[in-house]
């Protein structure tokens, strides 16, 4: 596509075609009738690249600036769908959670992150899951029906479900 653009670019810088009406010719470019609509100016491609780059930088910036804001985060623990406990991530502590049919796991909160470090469920997948520290992340233990979720406010739903424009 780049090649094609390069080849057809000079065509578009031709002056206005003769016979264009009284309303035209504001800008020094006219559409060549036999010219593919998909091939743009080189500037268009550069602009698109710049915008994509800006979006990437913005995304990275968001991801990094996110790290410092763990003060108001909570680890909300659910057992069998019901809220069991809600702990601020800012305080280091351990809690044993009694889950379904006598199984339990140990939730460990250290340096702003929650992790399941011990469990007596059969598959122990919850122990293998990574520690969680940003809003919306979860650790799930299916056999014991325990879910640990990081929330912005203790047990509260997000403030905005949706808004329309």
């Amino acid at each position: 596509m780049m090649q094609k653009n390069g080849a057809s670019c000079p065509k578009e810088s031709e002056p206005d075609a003769p016979g264009s009406g009284p309303f035209f010719g504001r800008r020094g470019q006219s559409e060549d009738p036999g010219h593919s609509f998909l091939s743009g100016h080189r500037g268009d491609l550069i602009l698109a690249a710049v915008i994509i780059l800006a979006a990437g930088i913005w995304q990275l910036f968001m991801m990094f600036s996110d790290k410092g804001s763990s003060a108001a985060l909570y680890a909300v623990i659910y057992v069998d769908g019901k809220e069991y406990s809600s702990l601020p991530l800012s305080e280091d502590r351990q809690i044993r959670v009694e889950g379904f049919s006598g199984m339990s796991c140990l939730v460990n909160i250290t340096s702003g992150k929650a992790d399941v470090t011990e469990a007596d469920c059969p598959d122990r997948l919850c122990v293998r899951q990574k520690s969680i520290g940003s809003e919306g992340e979860t650790i799930v233990c299916l056999p014991a029906r325990i879910v640990v979720e990081v929330r912005g406010e203790a047990g509260e739903e997000d403030e905005y479900d949706a808004f329309s424009m």
């Binding site: 578009e12 810088s13 264009s20 009406g21 009284p22 309303f23 035209f24 504001r26 800008r27 020094g28 470019q29 006219s30 559409e31 009738p33 609509f37 998909l38 743009g40 100016h41 080189r42 500037g43 268009d44 550069i46 602009l47 698109a48 915008i51 994509i52 800006a54 979006a55 990437g56 913005w58 995304q59 968001m62 403030e159 905005y160 949706a162 808004f163 329309s164 424009m165």
Partner: protein, 169 residues
């Protein structure tokens, strides 16, 4: 030979038609299913008319059509709230497109991409003010990319339409 008077009448009529077209475009778009679950991501079909007006008549005329379109569609289909949102997006997009159209290196597609991106930035700013929450900036990257894509599509449509109506007008 077109006299001054009939050229003026013709211009008024065509601009009125463009305004009607822009309103219809906005209405048709409201009938389409939303492109995604993300608020603010939309095609921006009425921007096709803004682009064409800018190409055919100039920036001043395009701004008049844009402002009238936003006010009228706000009164007809929306409310004050939606009017403020489209105004913030529309004006910022218009400023970006006006500036972009002065660069010869950009075709109408590039100008439209600028418009799409800045429309979304304008709406993001308005949303951040309305909900008083800077966290909304999380939408930024998504809105930049979606503005780029929708701007590309509408710019392409405008390019194709222009190639036909240049002969007709």
């Amino acid at each position: 030979m077109i006299s001054d008077y009939s050229a003026k009448t013709r211009k008024t009529a065509v601009l009125g038609m463009f305004l009607a077209l822009a309103l219809i475009m906005g209405y048709i778009e409201s009938l389409l299913p939303p492109l995604s679950g993300i608020p603010g991501v939309k095609l921006g079909l009425s921007n096709i008319v803004t682009l064409i007006t800018m190409e055919v008549f100039g920036k001043k005329e395009a701004l008049v059509v844009l402002l009238l379109r936003i006010v009228l569609s706000g009164l007809l289909f929306g409310n004050m709230f939606s009017m403020v949102f489209s105004l913030s997006g529309g004006l910022l997009a218009f400023a970006a497109m006006g500036a972009g159209s002065m660069f010869k290196a950009l075709s109408i597609t590039g100008v439209s991409m600028l418009g799409g991106v800045f429309h979304n930035i304008g709406q993001l700013i308005a949303a951040a003010i309305v909900v008083d929450e800077l966290k909304i900036a999380y939408y930024g990257p998504v809105l930049l990319i979606s503005g780029l894509l929708t701007g590309f599509v509408t710019g392409l449509i405008a390019k194709i339409v222009l190639s036909y109506i240049r002969k007709a007008l």
